[in-house]
């Protein structure tokens, strides 16, 4: 019963200060919106990178194909073709023949026995088509690994590996088929944050890698054949026929430094949102305390405990924050829409140049 009364008091408190609360809401909403708008503009600069990508390509396009739902997973009892890599490769060869491409191997993704982070191994035959030069950075006798930052701690423990972690520009993939599950609330909020994804690449064909995988009880989790095309149009035809379930690599996704910076900037935008949210909470609570010192004393003199007071101001602050989030999301969406409208032309031009009309 106390809790309902306290919530009611917190709400009344919020309403009492609605004028100043709305000022906060407006101020912080504008700050949030600015962050979103800048993020969207960075999306615009990213699209200009696509143009460089097109300009530098020599016509070879590498495609990673997903032949069935969830790819080849030995542990899964799905369709028959998913259970045997040979059948899988056979189908890949048929697709390659139909669309005038060549099968050059498969990306094999390994997962630890007890689940957790996976490692994707790219065949050496495919690495020359990817604009990655990890061997430049690896000491002699080490296996170069390109990985996300999340992998670093885990793999660094093994001295057989040399991590090139902060090297996001080297290996890139572009998702032409978008995965709706990939778009969470924040992905929508931070425009374009999911579009460019770094790929994990491990150089294959060494005993050390195999030992590492065996020792740590990794097993094959996914098996994705790779096709190479001389002609972009053929690749795009394949994409259109099997829309949305596979990725394209190319060896010439250049301007990596710029792209990497944009990618990082996008992450900083998220950090900026978090920092603004924390500042909002601190400012709202501090000002509420200064503003309502007398009211707090009155509540205390009428039998309220410290917990009750904290709860009243928690409700007050929570309502302010929810209102700020709703306002910020609305204004931010409008800002994003404007920025996306600006970007649309750039995206269309880049896509048209790359794939033809």
């Amino acid at each position: 019963m106390i809790i309902f009364n306290i919530i009611k008091l917190g709400h009344k408190n919020f309403l009492m200060h609605k004028k100043s609360s709305f000022c906060f809401v407006a101020f912080f909403s504008i700050l949030f919106s600015l962050v979103v708008f800048i993020s969207a503009l960075l999306g615009f600069f990213k699209d200009t990178v696509s143009e460089k990508f097109e300009a530098a390509t020599n016509g070879k396009v590498m495609v990673e194909i997903y032949l069935c739902q969830g790819s080849y997973q030995p542990s899964m009892k799905g369709e028959e073709k998913c259970e045997d890599p040979e059948i899988y490769n056979k189908e890949a060869r048929e697709i390659a023949e139909k669309y005038h491409g060549d099968l050059i191997g498969a990306i094999i993704t390994y997962m630890p026995k007890n689940g957790g982070e996976t490692i994707s191994v790219v065949p050496e035959s495919a690495t020359k088509f990817i604009n990655a030069k990890p061997t430049y950075y690896a000491p002699d006798g080490k296996i170069p690994v390109i990985t996300s930052i999340g992998y670093n701690d885990k793999i660094s423990e093994n001295n057989d590996f040399y991590i090139i972690g902060n090297y996001p520009g080297d290996v890139r993939s572009i998702y032409f088929g978008s995965d709706p599950n990939h778009k969470g609330f924040l992905d929508k909020f931070i425009y374009d944050s999911y579009t460019y994804t770094s790929h994990y690449l491990v150089f294959d064909a060494t005993d050390k890698l195999e030992n590492y995988l065996a020792k740590n009880e990794y097993s094959v989790y996914r098996y994705n054949p790779l096709l190479i095309f001389d002609n972009k149009d053929d690749a795009y035809k394949l994409y259109k026929d099997r829309a949305g379930v596979w990725e394209i690599f190319t060896q010439t996704l250049r301007a990596n430094d710029d792209d990497g910076r944009m990618h990082l900037a996008s992450k900083y935008m998220f950090m900026a949102c978090v920092v603004i949210a924390i500042i909002t909470i601190v400012v709202v609570l501090s000002l509420a305390y200064m503003r309502d010192e007398k009211i707090i004393m009155l509540y205390r003199s009428l039998g309220a405990s410290r917990k009750d007071i904290a709860m009243i101001y928690f409700v007050d602050t929570l309502e302010t924050i929810i209102l700020t989030a709703v306002f910020a999301y609305t204004i931010g969406s409008i800002a994003s829409a404007i920025a996306i409208a600006i970007n649309k032309d750039a995206i269309d031009v880049a896509m048209a140049r790359f794939f033809g009309n």
Partner: protein, 143 residues
């Protein structure tokens, strides 16, 4: 005193403040109900108590009005109603008016409660069982 005992003591202690400190965003009824919000009594009991105490202080008609729209006299009554709503065992009063003092004295006599008054009025001495004199000048001299 343990934490629980302390909490129990404070739940039974209410202050009657000079200036009344009625919250302008709450109605008179909610202002009166404030101590009950923190004590955890049920809604029905709260309503009964408020009704009864409002009748006692003749403020039934103004229960739904905001305190900014009532006279000083009425505010004093509302403040007293708020103080006595939960039948406190200890009341702390700062500079109460003559009428407030009278009401509080009648209350403590009936309920066998304790009233602690801080006042400059020497006429109140005759009601006191114990008197603590704070001489600010003396205090300052000591410093």
């Amino acid at each position: 005193m343990s934490g629980h005992e302390k909490q129990k003591f404070f739940r039974n202690t209410v202050s009657c403040l000079r200036g009344y400190f009625l919250q302008s965003n709450l109605t008179v009824k909610d202002n009166i109900a404030l101590p009950s919000f923190f004590s955890g009594i049920g809604k029905r009991e709260r309503e009964t108590r408020i009704e009864s105490i409002a009748k006692k202080f003749d403020i039934v008609d103004i229960l739904k009005i905001k305190p900014t729209k009532i006279s000083d006299d009425m505010r004093e009554r509302v403040c007293l109603a708020r103080t006595l709503l939960m039948n406190p065992k200890v009341i702390l009063a700062t500079e109460p008016s003559e009428w407030t003092t009278e009401v509080l004295l009648r209350y403590i006599e009936a309920k066998n409660a304790v009233l602690i008054i801080s006042s400059n009025n020497p006429n109140l001495r005759k009601y006191a069982a114990d008197i603590i004199t704070i001489n600010s000048k003396e205090k300052n001299d000591n410093f």
